[in-house]
Point group: D2
Chain length 174, copies 4
């Protein structure tokens, strides 16, 4: 038996990033994103707190998915109630780097500057980013199209999974 | 339904720390530690690499336990094959802090200076540490007894679980 | 004598962020930014590597300024030759958080995704950000104006210093 | 002109580590350590807070030395008044790794578990550690002699400088 074959680890990991203070619409979108992640058999990674993170976690758990929360503080207690595996880091803002490092692709739902930092770190690390009503980027007047905008939670997850698989295949060819 | 009640997160988390280059004896001890952690229904957390980390992970997985690996590098690929939930941090040495932050108690098996750093961070954070043929500490000529030495893997895990439960109860009374 | 009064620490600290692979134009702009930082008596903080970081460091040093470099790797050797105080962190990408944490305001010159992450962390931390041909942000179709665009290096530094002083005064009133 | 030649960066950097709650004796020892570091023309690096860190910083500053403080929190304000270059990291405990990463050798004065973590990280990174009434280590009953115990602050700094220079020479031969 190869222990990795049927391991959690061999599954695609998707990070869902967004504000800890979500509007009802954002929360509804994030919950649908979480549901789709779980239905696809992928592992959901978030920053483990409230708002978009909590709604996505709830969606994934209600579909029987596995939810990992990478926390900024020093205790598992701060995780939202839907997180299965809670990792307190004590790193404050620097935990945002770990949230995206742990993922094969990132889905951003709305979001404030913390979310923007996660998008930026993901793009720096070469990881696909799909957005739902999130940041749009331009440099020196020219739009940057590395954030792929999706029109629905379902499309966002499908696209993120496709891009994650393609990136993994390219990675393993190296 | 309270989602936390039957969550992975509500279980005791034990970190097993030790060298990535274990002797056969250390590996055998670490595997027994991992087995006991899983049998007790606790979550095993390690640094995710080889040696003591791999042996403990193997022990826990063979008993059906859940194994979390907090990695120093940037990819899940570097995790040993028994890790379920692999968290690459890209933090290098600083990931040692996260390994103990994620645990309620720490079991140290042998170990080099990296292990000593994990023991020290755990004690600084007020987390119980149980040792198996690991570091002994003294200050200004006086022994420091905060590392509780156990005589067998089974005793080490039992003691760590007892201390973790006691610490959690104290914490929740605050 | 109050030791802080004439300390380096009481001076404004400005971080200059930008790509490690700068175009000649960006390098020229960054060098002028560094010169102005030093002329104003402020401390220059950068990520310590090449490109924009090196050009700004060179500018500041040639004007007799103090240059701090917060490095991603584990050795002072990787710092560009104009860094006075080199701090290797071993944190990889997470060092970007420290680069902006150490500053009262940030000037961004051009830049790739790493620079965007520094801008985002700075804005999350409530620190002023001034841009020179750098990222433009929008959310859900609406421009975000928190990055103040300057038309010259001299204006960028003047604006960053003004905003840093105003933020410090507000902070000390709390 | 080679900018590095007369740069701060080309000087030996010594980290002085110890408790933030020092006894009067420890503070007196730490201040003498700081004085010697400055007299030798080396840069003093500490964790930037009180106790041993503050006493060493005071000693170095009173001799005209340069003092770098690597802080666990998010603001320069938390630095002791003798720190010249204050680097807030926001990393909490993980800043201990940076404190020793920034040094060529470490002098430990007394100290609690945080200090032990810094000693351990330094030894893991291959950096010389000299102790003054600090931790003594043993493994499986055998003393570990990597912490070189000194009998006076002056001897501690002399020994640390010698070991740092030797390590640097070996490093540059590679």
């Amino acid at each position: 038996m190869s222990p990795v074959t049927n391991s959690v680890r061999s599954r695609i990991h998707l990070s869902v990033v967004g504000s800890s203070l979500a509007s009802p619409e954002e929360a509804a979108v994030a919950e649908r994103v979480g549901r789709e992640v779980a239905r696809a058999g992928a592992v959901l990674v978030t920053g483990g707190l409230g708002g978009v993170m909590e709604a996505a976690s709830r969606g994934a758990r209600l579909e029987g998915g596995l939810v990992v929360g990478i926390l900024p503080g020093t205790s598992r207690i701060e995780a939202n109630p839907w997180v299965d595996v809670a990792i307190p880091t004590g790193l404050g803002e620097a935990r945002n780097v770990v949230v995206v490092m742990a993922a094969d692709a990132v889905v951003a739902v709305g979001g404030e500057y913390g979310t923007l930092s996660e998008i930026a770190h993901a793009l720096k690390l070469g990881k696909p980013v799909v957005g739902l009503a999130t940041w749009q980027l331009a440099r020196a007047g020219r739009p940057d199209t590395r954030i792929r905008e999706a029109s629905s939670p379902e499309e966002a997850v499908r696209l993120a999974l496709d891009l994650a698989r393609a990136a993994t295949v390219r990675g393993s060819r190296l």
